[in-house]
């Protein structure tokens, strides 16, 4: 199968290349970058030296239609046209941007500041979290890969909403994320001396991922769910932790929570439940998933305050982006769902 990657010079693009270059079932055929067209891939992604022989191509959609499937990993707003044209040409598309994630076109105005030009496409697009939409993914022609904090938070919260355990108006998602989450473009605030050593809140209210988390949780809960999200930049390169604070509407104990989480995630190849009472790994921490496609999930209860904390950790470039996208590709193509994703994480890293 011939595969192309648009926006291959970015961080998500680079991670897609890392995974695709050793994937047993695909041929990496075309990787585009406007800025680095003609340049060897390893000049931009040094670690890939020796793995990929290709040079970047300019962004030529006609040529891209020679592929069976194309990943688009460009900034939001910039994927709108590219995806539409590839889709219309019959190419399967997995879009890593936000441009086809939301079902409600009005949400694009509110959260992204643009009027969506192809609202009818939004319903054709499948939200690419296998744990939530595996069957729809199998038959999709357009898959919209989730936001990195969104997928991490959603996997932590979904079992609670599915079981109607929590107050849907007081859910706080406090997330912490490494610098690769902001992509590869330098700026004053990503300059190392300014970005190192921070615990920097940004968009403490109205963060864009709110929209997709609310959309998906409302489907699961079958009612209107409100999310209060605050992300923080921390001094890491890869990794997300979502601390999902919720308030219980029913009484529940730890044993029941184990059952609820196991019930939803039994057999999932990339979910690990982490809630130990011994050792140093008692709750999820992105340190122990870096480089892998895992989302580690844990939980705890504060009886005094009826609070339930659901913790979820992922590598933002893997389960948070390229890993999820490859998993979706495997499903849609009927490959083994773990192919190309068998990366064991590290102790220590």
């Amino acid at each position: 199968m011939k595969v192309g990657v648009v926006g291959a010079s970015g961080y998500v693009g680079g991670e897609l290349l890392r995974l695709l270059s050793t994937h047993p079932d695909v041929e990496l055929n075309m990787v585009t970058s406007r800025t680095y067209a003609g340049e060897y891939v390893h000049r931009i992604h040094p670690s890939l030296k020796g793995f990929i022989d290709l040079t970047f191509s300019p962004l030529n959609i006609d040529k891209l239609t020679e592929n069976d499937l194309v990943f688009t990993s460009v900034p939001h707003g910039k994927a709108l046209e590219i995806v539409k044209r590839l889709y219309d040409a019959g190419v399967k598309v997995i879009d890593l941007s936000a441009d086809y994630r939301l079902k409600n076109p009005k949400a694009y105005v509110e959260y992204y500041g643009y009027e969506h030009p192809y609202p009818e496409m939004l319903l054709k697009s499948v939200y690419g979290i296998p744990e939530l939409h595996r069957e729809e993914i199998r038959n999709a022609r357009l898959i919209s890969s989730p936001g990195c904090m969104a997928v991490t938070s959603l996997l932590g919260l979904a079992p609670l909403l599915k079981n109607n355990l929590v107050d849907t108006k007081h859910i706080i998602v406090d997330s912490k994320i490494g610098s690769s989450g902001a992509g590869g473009k330098p700026s004053a605030s990503t300059h190392h001396a300014m970005r190192a050593g921070v615990i920097r809140p940004y968009k403490p209210v109205k963060h864009r991922h709110t929209a997709e988390i609310e959309q998906e949780l409302s489907i699961i809960a079958k009612e209107d769910v409100k999310i209060s999200m605050t992300p923080h930049a921390v001094d890491l390169v890869r990794g997300i932790l979502c601390t999902n604070h919720t308030f219980l509407t029913k009484e529940v104990d730890i044993q029941q929570l184990w059952k609820i989480y196991r019930g939803m995630y039994k057999g999932e190849p990339f979910i690990r439940l982490i809630r130990d009472t011994k050792g140093i790994y008692k709750y999820p921490d992105p340190k122990f998933v870096v480089g892998s496609n895992f989302c580690d999930i844990g939980f705890d209860i504060d009886e005094k305050n009826n609070r339930l904390v659901a913790l979820s950790a992922s590598d933002n470039l893997m389960k948070g982006a390229a890993g999820s996208a490859i998993q979706c590709m495997n499903i849609v193509q009927g490959f083994n769902e773990s192919n190309g994703l068998k990366y064991t994480p590290f102790t220590p890293v």
Partner: protein, 57 residues
């Protein structure tokens, strides 16, 4: 190696083939300790005191 499920979290606890009654086994997922109550065709376990071990804060 036989297995028994953890009453707390449903994790798979490994019971060595040469295990005997009274031996302590621990759950790989939630860390709970259990004492082997019976070991025949079926394995029965009951909660045991946790050693309260902590390898750091």
């Amino acid at each position: 190696m036989r297995k028994v499920n953890c009453p707390e979290c449903d994790g798979e606890i490994k019971v060595p083939d040469d295990a005997v009654k009274g031996e302590i086994v621990a759950c790989p997922d939630c860390g709970a300790n259990y004492e082997i109550e019976e070991i025949g065709k079926e394995i029965k376990i009951k909660p045991a005191e946790s050693v309260g071990e902590d390898w750091g804060e």
